[in-house]
C-alpha cells in the first residue's frame, strides 16, 4: 500500500485562514489501512478544523466525504456537488489522490492533509515500513526478496558498505543492514555465488528520477469502435 502520515491540522489552518467552506476528503484504500486518511481520520480532521474555526470566532462550513478511491476519476463523482461551493478541499488521500482531485476541480485550491511516504506494509499494528521505492525495474529475484534500493540506506547494488556492524546499518542503529540480511538469506538458499556477480549501474530512467512514468496496456484501453460518434 501507499504509506502516509497525517500533517498537523495547524499547518492546514495556516493555509485556509480566511476561507469559509471546506471539503475534507478521505480515501478508502491505502490511507485507510495505514490510518491516516480514512473515514475516521476525515472525521477527526474535520472536527479539529471545526473546533479551531469556532475558537477563532468565525466557524467553517465543513463537508466530509470519503470516497472508494481518490486515484480513480470515476469515484470522485460524490465530490462534484460539494466542490461547487468549496473554497478549498483538504484531501487525506496520498499525493496521487490529491492530484486527481486537483485535476478534476481546477478552480478550487486542494491541500494535502497527509505526507505521502512511500510503498510499504504493516509490520505490526501501528507500525508500517517502507519496502518499495518503485524504481521501475525490480531486482528482488536476485536479492532474495529484500529490496536494497529501499532498505539499504545507500541503495547499493553490489553488497554492503563498510559501515554495517553486527548486522546494523551505519545510517541508523535501529535499522538492519539490508545487505547482511541478503547475505544470510542467500546462504540459506545456497546461492552465495550470486554475491560475486557484479551488477552493472541501474537504469534510473525507469525510476522516479527520470521523466514522469506511464503504464499503457492497449488491451485494457477503450475500444474506439464502441465509443459514441461525435
Amino acid at each position: 500500500m501507499i504509506l502516509a502520515r497525517p500533517k498537523t491540522v495547524s499547518s492546514i489552518l495556516a493555509l485556509v485562514g480566511g476561507m469559509k467552506s471546506l471539503v475534507v476528503a478521505g480515501c478508502q484504500e491505502c490511507v485507510t489501512v495505514c490510518q491516516s486518511g480514512g473515514r475516521k481520520e476525515v472525521s477527526c480532521v474535520a472536527q479539529l478544523l471545526e473546533i479551531a474555526g469556532k475558537k477563532r470566532g468565525f466557524p467553517f462550513e465543513i463537508a466530509q466525504v470519503t470516497v472508494f478511491r481518490q486515484c480513480d476519476n470515476e469515484y470522485l463523482v460524490p465530490l462534484d456537488v460539494l466542490m461547487e461551493k468549496a473554497d478549498a478541499c483538504i484531501s487525506l488521500g496520498c499525493g496521487v489522490g490529491v492530484q486527481f482531485i486537483a485535476e478534476r476541480y481546477p478552480t478550487v485550491m486542494v491541500i494535502p492533509g497527509v505526507d505521502t511516504v512511500g510503498g510499504g506494509g504493516t509490520v505490526m499494528s501501528g507500525v508500517w515500513e517502507e519496502r518499495c521505492a518503485m524504481c521501475g525495474e525490480c531486482i528482488l529475484a536476485e536479492t532474495t526478496g529484500i529490496c536494497p534500493v529501499t532498505r539499504c540506506a545507500k541503495g547499493l547494488l553490489n553488497g554492503p558498505c563498510g559501515g554495517s556492524v553486527d548486522g546494523r546499518c551505519e545510517a541508523g542503529t535501529d535499522l538492519p543492514c539490508a545487505w547482511e540480511m541478503i547475505y544470510h538469506r542467500l546462504k540459506k538458499q545456497g546461492r552465495l555465488d550470486s554475491l560475486t556477480r557484479i551488477r552493472p549501474p541501474k537504469n534510473w530512467a525507469h525510476s522516479g528520477s527520470g521523466v514522469m512514468r506511464k503504464v499503457i496496456r492497449e488491451e485494457v484501453m477503450p475500444c474506439l469502435s464502441v465509443l459514441p460518434l461525435k
Binding site: 547499493l156 553490489n158 554495517s164 556492524v165 547475505y183 557484479i198
Partner: protein
C-alpha cells in the same frame, strides 16, 4: 557496460608512482590528508610538502564523514603542485555517473594518477543531514567504470573516449564489519571489478585483521590486488573512544586503557601506530600501510622513519 574481468596483475601502465612502488615489490606507504573546511589551500600545500618524501602517495578525502570540505580534486591539484602524488578519493554519495566520469577526466588531465572509489559515509551523520544522497552508482560500479574508461576507452554508456584517463584504481574494505565470509566475498567483488589496490579501515584490532587476511589469502585475492592496511596514530584516549563508536570500527578496550595511562599521549600514540605497522607488515599478503593521521599529519614523517620505511624508493 561490460564489467567483470578479473584484475590482471599487469605491468605498470598508468604513470602512477604508487603503482610502480607496489609492482616493484616494495612495502608501500600512503598518507591521508584531510582538506580544510574553508577556501584556504595553504595547509594542504604545507602538509603535502611535509609528507611527500615519507609516503609514496597522498590520499585526499572527499567530504569525509559527509562534512563539507574543500573538494578532493582541488586538494589533489595542491598536492601535485607541491611535488606530491595524489590519490583522488571519489564517493558516489555526492555525484552521479555524469559528474563522476567528468571529474575523473578532469583529474587525469591535471596529472592525477591514482583514484580511490568509495560509496562514502551516509549523509545522515554529516553536517548536512537533510541532503539528498545521490548513490546513482555504487563503489563497485565506480571501480569497474574507471577500469572500463581506462582500458576499454568507453564511458558507462558505451561511447568512446578519445583520451582515456590513465589512473591507478583503488577501493576500500572494512575487515571488521560483519561476517568475515561476506567481507571477503565483497573484497573479491571489488578486485573482480578492477581494484588494483585496497586500502583498509583503520586497524586497531590486529587479531581480527589477521583472521580477515587469512581468509583473503585463502581465497587468493592478495595475489590479484595490493592490500594496504589502514593505520591511525591515536592522539588521546578520547580520540580512541570516539573512533570506537564510529560504525564499522573496532578498538580493543586495552588499547584505550593504555592511552589513558600514558603520560606522554602523543609519544604513546606514535608507538601504538608503529607497533601496528610492524605487526601488519609481518602478515602475509599485506603490501603496505595507509597512514591516516587525522588532524595530526605532522606525525607521519616520524612514524615512517621509526618504522624504518624511510627513505621511500
Amino acid at each position: 557496460m561490460s564489467i567483470g574481468p578479473a584484475a590482471k596483475v599487469i605491468e605498470a601502465r598508468t604513470g602512477s608512482r604508487l603503482e610502480k612502488v607496489l609492482r616493484a615489490g616494495h612495502f608501500a606507504v600512503t598518507a591521508e590528508i584531510g582538506p580544510p573546511k574553508g577556501a584556504d589551500g595553504r595547509r594542504i600545500q604545507q602538509l603535502a610538502a611535509l609528507v611527500k618524501d615519507y609516503s609514496d602517495a597522498q590520499n585526499l578525502t572527499d567530504n569525509q564523514t559527509a562534512v563539507v570540505r574543500l573538494c578532493s580534486l582541488a586538494a589533489a591539484v595542491h598536492v601535485l603542485n607541491n611535488g606530491g602524488e595524489p590519490v583522488l578519493q571519489m564517493t558516489t554519495r555526492d555525484r552521479n555517473r555524469i559528474a563522476l566520469q567528468s571529474d575523473l577526466l578532469g583529474a587525469a588531465s591535471l596529472g592525477v594518477r591514482n583514484v580511490l572509489c568509495l560509496s562514502g559515509d551516509h549523509q545522515r551523520f554529516g553536517n548536512h543531514p537533510e541532503a539528498k544522497g545521490v548513490f546513482d552508482i555504487d563503489s563497485v560500479q565506480l571501480t569497474a567504470t574507471v577500469r572500463q574508461m581506462r582500458e576499454e576507452r568507453l564511458f558507462i554508456c558505451g561511447e568512446e573516449i578519445k583520451a582515456p584517463p590513465r589512473v591507478f584504481v583503488g577501493a576500500v574494505e572494512n575487515p571488521f564489519a560483519g561476517p568475515v565470509e561476506l567481507r571477503v566475498l565483497r573484497l573479491g567483488k571489488k578486485v573482480m571489478a578492477g581494484a588494483e589496490f585496497i586500502q583498509t579501515q583503520v586497524v586497531y584490532d590486529v587479531e581480527g585483521f589477521t583472521r580477515w587476511m587469512e581468509a583473503v589469502c585463502a581465497a587468493g585475492w592478495h595475489k590479484k590486488t595490493f592490500i594496504l592496511a589502514g593505520v591511525t596514530p591515536p592522539k588521546s584516549a578520547g580520540a580512541l573512544r570516539y573512533m570506537s563508536r564510529i560504525p564499522g570500527m573496532k578498538v580493543p578496550e586495552e588499547l584505550i586503557r593504555r592511552m589513558e595511562k600514558a603520560s606522554d599521549k602523543l609519544r604513546e600514540g606514535q608507538r601504538i601506530a608503529l607497533e601496528i605497522i610492524n605487526h601488519v607488515r609481518a602478515i602475509a599478503g599485506v603490501s603496505g600501510v595507509h597512514i591516516m593521521a587525522i588532524n595530526w599529519e605532522e606525525a607521519v614523517p616520524e612514524i615512517v622513519s621509526m618504522a624504518g620505511l624511510y627513505p621511500r624508493p
